[in-house]
Symmetry: C2
Subunit: 237 residues, 2 copies
């Protein structure tokens, strides 16, 4: 029987301690593959940023990694899938804090600030440009649908945090949808102006944005209630 | 002489009152031309929004106006110039309040709120999509340079208002550049999500954004200084 002719590993020693398999750990192989796949996607994102999606070839991405074109095709089917993966990678990073279980005693506003840090990091990364450009690059409807789903998840996540914040008293807002759009707009726009070689890091940008959105532009120094009331009235002039 | 054969208008009656020319008023002709040119640019913006820049032909723009292709070429040299004009029209609308002389006694914050209303109107108009897309559509370097100049004028105008607001006490901010970028980002992003048939008007959106940016997300209700101090500390968590 063919199964007999296959080389077989020695039976693992069974002792009181946990069983250790002598075969190569499949998880590591998988991790190795994941690391390489991530490098391919990252190289694609960097190339798309530098030269634009339509001006970048799979050959150039392969050259940047010192591999051949077939190596790239081992990880992705085509350039369109590479673009899709770049977008999904960025969006998943933004979604990370929404998917993590919330620590006890953390207000929704503190959680919102954490989300802004993640968002700023993702959008200032090499994936940012792809994340805000998806709709114009001719992706297939199924891909666009997947992207739309994740973007909607982000929007709903922000609105839910805002709603919770209004409930726990840590946030004031009269319009969840507009606040979510203002936040996402300011954050998404980072992809339009941020360049890696500038003095501010993504973390610095996040802190500046958190300060602006948290405190607002109307001075908070007013000590007397009368001045606060005036500020509230004046802001809509 | 040929000049004699040309029909000549009767000499205008000269009286004590102002002279009225019997020739067609040139200004009106010019205005008429301007109105038609504007209609051409507007039709182009609507077509670019609906079908994308690369998918729109001059023929389609002409058809939308019930005119022939040569009529369009009477106003613009080519499709690229049409796109440029769409972008410039939108940017000029945003710049309008910066170029108007300021009324006495108006704080910089009130002026900033006015600017936000203009900005929201411009970006939610048919020109909005072109305004935020210029860099990807293959415009000539000279056109991109002109657009960059106007965008920089807008950014500088916002920063100047913020600076004046800090000086006149109507605005609090620690970072003029980041505040300008957050404001412009939130406003520019309107072009990505706004559709004419939705319930909110551009004016509604502007008011919502003014409220968010003016008041901030940290509740302002705190009466005691101690709570205000706490809010200030907590916002960076």
């Amino acid at each position: 029987m063919s199964s007999v002719s296959k080389p077989r590993a020695a039976a693992p020693e069974v002792s009181g301690t946990a069983l250790v398999s002598p075969w190569p750990v499949r998880k590591n192989t998988q991790r190795n593959r994941d690391v390489k796949r991530e490098a391919v996607i990252r190289a694609a994102a960097q190339a798309f940023n530098a030269c634009g999606y339509h001006n970048t070839s799979i050959d150039e991405i392969a050259a940047a990694l010192n591999v051949t074109k077939p190596t790239i095709y081992y990880y992705v089917a085509n350039k369109e899938q590479l673009l899709l993966e770049c977008i999904l990678t960025g969006l998943e990073r933004v979604l990370e804090p929404f998917r993590r279980p919330r620590e006890d005693g953390v207000t929704a506003r503190v959680q919102l600030n954490r989300m802004m840090r993640h968002y700023a990091e993702a959008i200032a990364s090499e994936y940012g440009w792809c994340m805000v450009r998806a709709e114009d690059l001719g992706l297939a409807p199924a891909s666009l649908w997947r992207i739309k789903g994740l973007k909607s998840e982000i929007d709903q996540g922000i609105r839910r945090l805002l709603e919770e914040g209004v409930r726990d008293g840590s946030i004031q807002t009269e319009d969840l949808k507009m606040t979510s759009f203002a936040l996402a707009g300011a954050l998404n726009w980072i992809a339009h102006w941020y360049r890696e070689n500038q003095s501010m890091t993504p973390a610095d940008i996040a802190e500046a944005f958190i300060r602006i959105f948290n405190l607002g532009l109307v001075p908070r120094a007013a000590a007397k209630p009368s001045r606060r009331t005036r500020a509230r009235k004046e802001h809509i002039q």
